[in-house]
């Protein structure tokens, strides 16, 4: 028993990762994506968008307090939340599409964990120097210089983390107002708590846990394994070309005895998750392609063709091992699976765009009062009461006509009117961007079926688009009631 436990540890101590800086096509591509994603994240809440006096002028705003979601010229009400659900479904299928086509591209380029880790690793290089200097400093005993460097590095981490947390809350309230309130201590406590939590997670995840989040915490790499197949692009070491490894001198002395890999370890040195890609595909590889850049640089120096480490599909790996040539990368992207994903993805997107263009900005829901179901009036007429909710989703005052359809002899009036001036159409004023609750009284002759289904419609009066209607029931007393 004891000897089994002695060599089985459930805890793996973290091995430090000190990635070396590298330049190349993929590094520049990552720079571009980092710039775009961070700019979108930090700048979006500050874009203004004029919506008139009755709505906020922030282009993207999730207004939880007033239950509205604004995105440029789209305004979503709570009952239209399926648009948000649809966007989430699209995001999900979009990940399927990207994963089946180009593997873990999400992980390698645009996942926030990757982007912020990359950012923090640049901070490391700025303060501590490149890989070797970082390793030296890590091993060095604590002294004034190390303390100073650590403190300044962690301060920058903290500043970035705080800025990240601070940017998040701007999506939920008017950004300039919230900034002022935040610094004057007048913001809601939930704002401070959110900033605190997100500052802490950014500081810890980006500054210290880094690749461990991807390897141990994140479920997505595990799910992705199921999404990928032998036609998905992965970062691959062409071991049939590189092995056996040997120095340039040995290659010159005995041509043909060694492969292209000179075992310079550059691919390992630049890896942000600290793996050796030459050991084959593995869970730690986020396919950021920095090892491709590093290896290409070395191949250029020793006069060998690029691509010892490259994006390849597993199918092409087999083909090349047998001496064939790999498919062009573009060709691997278009195949039934990716096209089906793309079809579903764009179908949902088009359907949402279509319904978005067709949706009414006037909505009506009617509820029949159940207690009492009906009231007999003194002239024998039967009255039913309804609670009508008219939603005016435009940012201007509107006058709406409520119309009784399909109930013979029926007239209606609201709590502000009276039976004397009742008619089949009742006018209701609705304030901008609000829900008007109206108590509607409908009276109809006593003679008729005990239950009649009919419609109450809403029609916008000041010359604009279609209205809405709701089907309700009119109840009369049964025999003997």
């Amino acid at each position: 028993m004891a000897d089994i436990e002695a060599d089985t540890f459930l805890y793996e101590k973290r091995k430090g990762v000190f990635p070396k800086s590298v330049d190349g096509f993929f590094r520049r591509f990552k720079w571009a994506i980092m710039a775009v994603t961070l700019t979108i994240y930090y700048a979006t809440p500050w874009i203004r968008w004029d919506r008139g006096p009755h709505a906020p002028d922030q282009a993207v705003l999730i207004d939880l307090a007033n239950r509205r979601f604004y995105m440029f010229n789209i305004e979503i009400w709570p009952h239209e939340f399926y648009y948000v659900a649809g966007m989430l479904v699209m995001a999900g299928i979009g990940l399927f599409l990207v994963t089946s086509a180009v593997g873990r591209a999400w992980c390698g380029y645009s996942c926030p964990q990757t982007v912020w880790t990359d950012l923090f690793q640049h901070v490391d290089r700025f303060i501590d120097g490149d890989r070797n200097a970082q390793i030296r400093l890590q091993k060095a005993p604590w002294g004034p210089q190390k303390i100073f460097k650590r403190l300044s590095k962690w301060s920058i981490y903290l500043f970035v983390a705080f800025w990240t947390g601070g940017a998040w809350i701007m999506y939920f309230a008017d950004a300039p107002t919230l900034t002022r309130d935040f610094w004057s201590g007048n913001a809601a406590s939930v704002a401070y708590a959110t900033v605190g939590v997100l500052t802490a997670t950014t500081f810890i995840f980006g500054g210290f846990m880094r690749e461990q989040v991807c390897i141990y915490m994140c479920p997505w790499p595990r799910i992705q394994t199921a999404m990928m197949d032998e036609k998905s692009l992965v970062v691959t070491y062409r071991e049939w070309r590189g092995e056996p490894r040997g120095s340039v001198k040995k290659a010159e002395a005995q041509p043909g005895s060694v492969g292209d890999c000179i075992d310079c370890n550059q691919c390992v040195a630049v890896c942000p998750t600290g793996i050796d890609i030459r050991e084959g595909p593995q869970i730690g590889c986020i396919t950021c392609a920095l090892c491709i850049d590093a290896c290409d640089n070395v191949m250029a120096q020793i006069g060998r063709p690029r691509g010892l480490i490259d994006y390849l599909t597993l199918d092409d790996v087999d083909t090349e091992k047998k001496g064939g040539t790999a498919h062009p990368t573009l060709k691997t992207l278009f195949r039934p699976r990716t096209l089906i994903y793309f079809g579903i993805w764009s179908a949902i997107g088009l359907a949402m765009l279509f319904t978005l263009g067709q949706r009414t900005r006037l909505d009506l829901t009617v509820q029949h009062d159940r207690n009492p179901l009906f009231v007999r009036l003194s002239d024998g007429t039967i009255r039913n009461n309804y609670t009508v909710k008219v939603r005016n989703m435009e940012t201007r005052d509107r006058e709406v006509s409520l119309i009784i359809k399909g109930l013979p002899g029926a007239v209606a009036w609201t709590q502000d009117g009276s039976r004397e001036n009742a008619s089949q159409r009742v006018k209701v004023k609705v304030s901008p961007d609000s829900v008007q609750k109206v108590r509607l009284f409908v009276a109809a002759p006593e003679a008729g079926p005990q239950r009649t289904d009919f419609e109450i419609g809403a029609e916008a009066l000041n010359g604009d688009e279609k209205g809405d209607s709701d089907s309700v029931r009119f109840e009369r007393p049964g025999a003997g009631q």
């Binding site: 028993m1 004891a2 207690n371 009492p372 009231v375 007999r376 009036l377 003194s378 002239d379 024998g380 009255r383 009461n385 709590q415 009276s418 039976r419 108590r439 009284f441």
Partner: protein
């Protein structure tokens, strides 16, 4: 599981590597597997917590009552504080309600809406026993949703009825009316004739000349010549479709012979003025509420009324 270190001289259970405690029953021995530290510390913490709690809060039952606790907290005190806070929150609305005359309540929509919802709540406490949860009433208890009102359906009249009640003994301002009992005055044939005439007013029976004559002699002073009733006396309209005590011949006969004397409590001495205003607003909003007619104070200006009569 925290494992105890094995000391020299202790016997050790080979499969688990755990020391024996030394107890043995019929060959079954106990291993020394103590509680995990975290569990033990949690347990100690709860003991300390309990001691502090019993000092701060009421805890130990004594002969008269439990120990008070140094914080002085009681559930009664908490309730009182919550009620005070709730009342303070309601105060602006109550003050606004008190300031507005009941017939002008509608003019301030915010106060009016609050009054209607407050009235709905108060109705469920004080009124549903007779008028029903939907205010639909039942035999002898009027339906408040319809447009038929014995004493008037504008918000002032409703407010008056609520404040002073109906047929309240020893209350001068109560709604008061007394239909005579015609049991001794009408012979059975006459009774039937009157009942038939009353039913004919709303088209439920054929006209009856004898009944009409009797009606003209005995009933018109309150119910009016055409039977449309008179709200000043609370005399019901006999020509409509609404019958508080039933519109069939037997029910009407019973009413004529023995009369009906329905009562309603006066709420003026039981509820605060704001609640009565809220109830008036709620009942008025149920669908049968009438517009307030320009103040017609009957009692206040008898001279003017007399002039009009001429």
């Amino acid at each position: 599981m925290a494992k105890q270190p094995v000391h020299d001289g202790q016997r050790v259970d080979a499969p688990t590597g755990t020391a024996f405690v030394g107890h043995e029953w019929d060959g079954i021995e106990e291993l020394n597997t103590p509680l995990p530290r975290w569990w033990l510390w949690t347990f100690y913490f709860t003991i300390v917590w309990a001691i502090i709690y019993t000092v701060l809060y009421p805890a130990w039952p004594m002969i008269e009552k439990a120990t008070a606790g140094t914080l002085g907290w009681t559930s009664h005190g908490q309730l009182a504080a919550e009620m005070t806070a709730a009342n303070a929150k309601r105060a602006p609305l109550i003050n606004a309600l008190a300031a507005v005359p009941v017939e002008q309540l509608v003019s301030d929509q915010k106060v009016y809406q609050a009054a209607v919802s407050g009235g709905a709540a108060a109705f469920k406490v004080h009124c549903v026993q007779c008028h029903g949860s939907g205010a639909t009433g039942s035999k002898g208890y009027p339906n408040l949703n319809d447009d038929d009102w014995l004493w008037g359906g504008d918000i002032n009249a409703i407010h008056y009825t609520l404040t002073h009640g109906i047929r309240n003994p020893e209350h001068a301002e109560t709604r008061q009316s007394a239909m005579p009992q015609f049991d001794a005055m009408f012979k059975p044939a006459e009774l039937n004739a009157v009942v038939q005439h009353v039913q004919s007013l709303s088209g439920k029976a054929k006209p009856n000349a004898a009944g009409a004559a009797l009606f003209a002699t005995n009933c018109v002073s309150c119910h009016g010549a055409n039977g449309k009733g008179l709200r000043e006396f609370g005399a019901p309209n006999l020509t409509d479709n609404i019958w508080l005590y039933g519109g069939d011949a037997a029910s009407i006969k019973q009413t004529v012979r023995y009369s009906r004397q329905g009562v309603m409590p006066r709420w003026g001495d039981k509820l605060d003025p704001a609640t009565i205003k809220m109830l008036a607003a709620y009942v008025h909003s149920l669908g049968g509420g009438e517009a307030t007619v320009a103040a017609a104070p009957i009692a206040a200006t008898p001279a003017a009324a007399a002039t009009e009569a001429k």
